[in-house]
């Protein structure tokens, strides 16, 4: 992270010739921290030669809240809700990872009903997140209309969430052992209505953007990330699956009821921006498929297991991994047997995905950087934590 004076000092300037700073005539420019294409307060210091990118250096920390340290003084019931504020577009899924980790440590059996509802909620969140990404990404590269289309459908999901959870973005619906409250009576009806609508709309998205020749020209062959590099940089989620890496945690290490539903892990092999785009579009259709299988089969029963009022994790280490809309989220809890974690680490997908940006961007044009960042689907609070 740069201080204000540092930004002014490092603002557009011609560097002297040298190995590290680039050759004579290289230009250093700042993108962000306040830039519409970075979708948050991300600061990139870019070294350019003409219009060609020589180096991209992310400067993080503008939205760092030290969530890991904060969690060390929160109980196992409280800390879950701080994580809604990390990747706020996958709030449910973040909560799921934390709840799973505590359940693993306490050996709590989660009722079937809660597990099924969790999966439905997770997949609705995934659709909402991918929709926002789709709209924002299309806007980044110059198409304004998709943004409104995407937000129109996303609003329906927000309404469903609001009815059941009482909130639209940071839902705080999961507790260790199950769910915070019973579903709203209209939940199933509303979700079915949404699914019927969304299946038509996702084809409309394809017509509007995917087949567009200008769009394809801006995406194809841009920001190529080979498979080996994607693994080495620790990429996960659609960013890695666009390069052909099998990394869907829902398939590899199934949690909740993901092993009982039918869905495909979406893989593309090109590794460019278009491949990452296609992975997310096709993933939305798979999420619809999962919801369709479950929405009429929510088992009756308790929505929450009976747990003690004060949770104490036994001494030891617990790790849980889930697939958020952006990739693999790991929650690593080290417990000393008390009511609060001794140390907690969130392995956030965005942090690792961002580290591959420099590698992807080198040698390409400045204008293409926006397409690369767009298809990495960066959420800055998830990176800074």
């Amino acid at each position: 992270m740069f201080r204000e004076t540092e930004i002014l000092k490092s603002g557009s300037q011609v560097l002297p010739a040298g190995e590290d700073s680039g050759g004579a005539g290289d230009l250093v420019i700042n993108v962000g921290p306040q830039h519409p294409a970075t979708h948050g307060v991300l600061h990139l210091v870019i070294t350019l030669n003409g219009e060609t990118i020589k180096k991209v250096e992310p400067h993080l920390g503008y939205i760092h809240r030290s969530i890991e340290k904060m969690c060390e003084s929160l109980t196992y019931r409280q800390f879950i809700y701080v994580t809604s504020r990390m990747d706020y577009l996958s709030a449910h899924i973040n909560n799921h990872a934390c709840a799973l980790c505590v359940e693993k440590g306490m050996q709590i059996e989660v009722p079937e009903r809660a597990q099924v509802i969790r999966v439905i909620m997770d997949e609705l969140t995934r659709i909402a997140s991918h929709e926002l990404w789709w709209g924002a990404m299309a806007m980044d590269i110059g198409a304004f209309t998709p943004f409104f289309h995407a937000f129109r459908e996303r609003e329906k999901i927000n309404e469903i969430m609001e009815e059941t959870c009482g909130a639209r973005l940071t839902m705080n619906y999961y507790v260790p052992g199950g769910l915070m409250a019973e579903l709203h009576p209209d939940f199933q009806k509303k979700v079915k209505e949404f699914i019927a609508l969304f299946k038509r709309k996702v084809d409309e998205y394809d017509e509007l953007v995917t087949g567009n020749i200008i769009f394809i020209n801006r995406m194809k062959g841009i920001g190529v990330l080979p498979k080996e590099d994607a693994i080495s940089y620790g990429c996960s989620g659609p960013a890695a699956r666009g390069s052909g890496v099998n990394c869907d945690i829902r398939k590899l290490y199934p949690y909740a009821v993901y092993d009982k539903v039918q869905f495909d892990e979406i893989l593309e092999t090109d590794g460019d921006s278009l491949a990452r785009y296609m992975v997310r579009i096709r993933e939305m259709k798979q999420s619809v498929r999962i919801i369709e299988q479950l929405i009429d089969n929510i088992p009756e029963g308790d929505f929450q297991a009976k747990t003690k009022a004060v949770l104490k994790l036994p001494k030891g280490e617990f790790y849980s991994r889930v697939e958020t809309a952006r990739g693999e989220l790991g929650v690593y809890i080290v417990s000393e047997g008390g009511t609060t974690p001794y140390r907690i680490k969130f392995r956030s997908p965005g942090f690792s995905n961002l580290s591959a940006l420099d590698h992807m961007a080198r040698g390409s044009k400045l204008g293409d950087l926006v397409a690369m960042m767009g298809t990495l689907d960066l959420v800055i609070p998830d990176i800074d934590r």
């Binding site: 030290s66 904060m70 790790y319 991994r321 693999e328 680490k345 961002l354 800074d384």
Partner: protein
Amino acid sequence: MNNEDLKTKITELLPAATFDEAGEWLNIHVEPAGWLSFAEKLRNDDSLFFDYLFCLTCIDWKTHLTMIYHLSSTKYRHNIVIKSKLDAAKPEIESVSNIWKTAEFHEREVYEMFGVNFLNHPDLRLLILPDGWEGKNPMRKDFEDPVNMIKL
């Protein structure tokens, strides 16, 4: 490979390694001194092939620090956890950012939050904290921030 096979194989590569199975995966305790060459073997050995470093972090135990590396193989799907005990006063370990590129960012984070010095890291600078940060490393247990509320 299951844990028993992994143990046999890893003992061949590094006889000094000790094991425990307290967590979900096999824990391997190594000395910081031989870590880099051992890491190279883990990555490049055909039957191990740990190519995916999915979590790198550090724990402050007050008396010492422990580096934690979670490794996975995308080919064989086995996981291990490497632990290495560091001295609290002068924590130093070899950087593995040449082997797993993702380590570069994660090590920078551990460097500023815990003060661990990664030897031969290509670009060991502050990542999240503001430039010119003075004082203690925020994730250490003895860190108190009188201005910004972190603890409740």
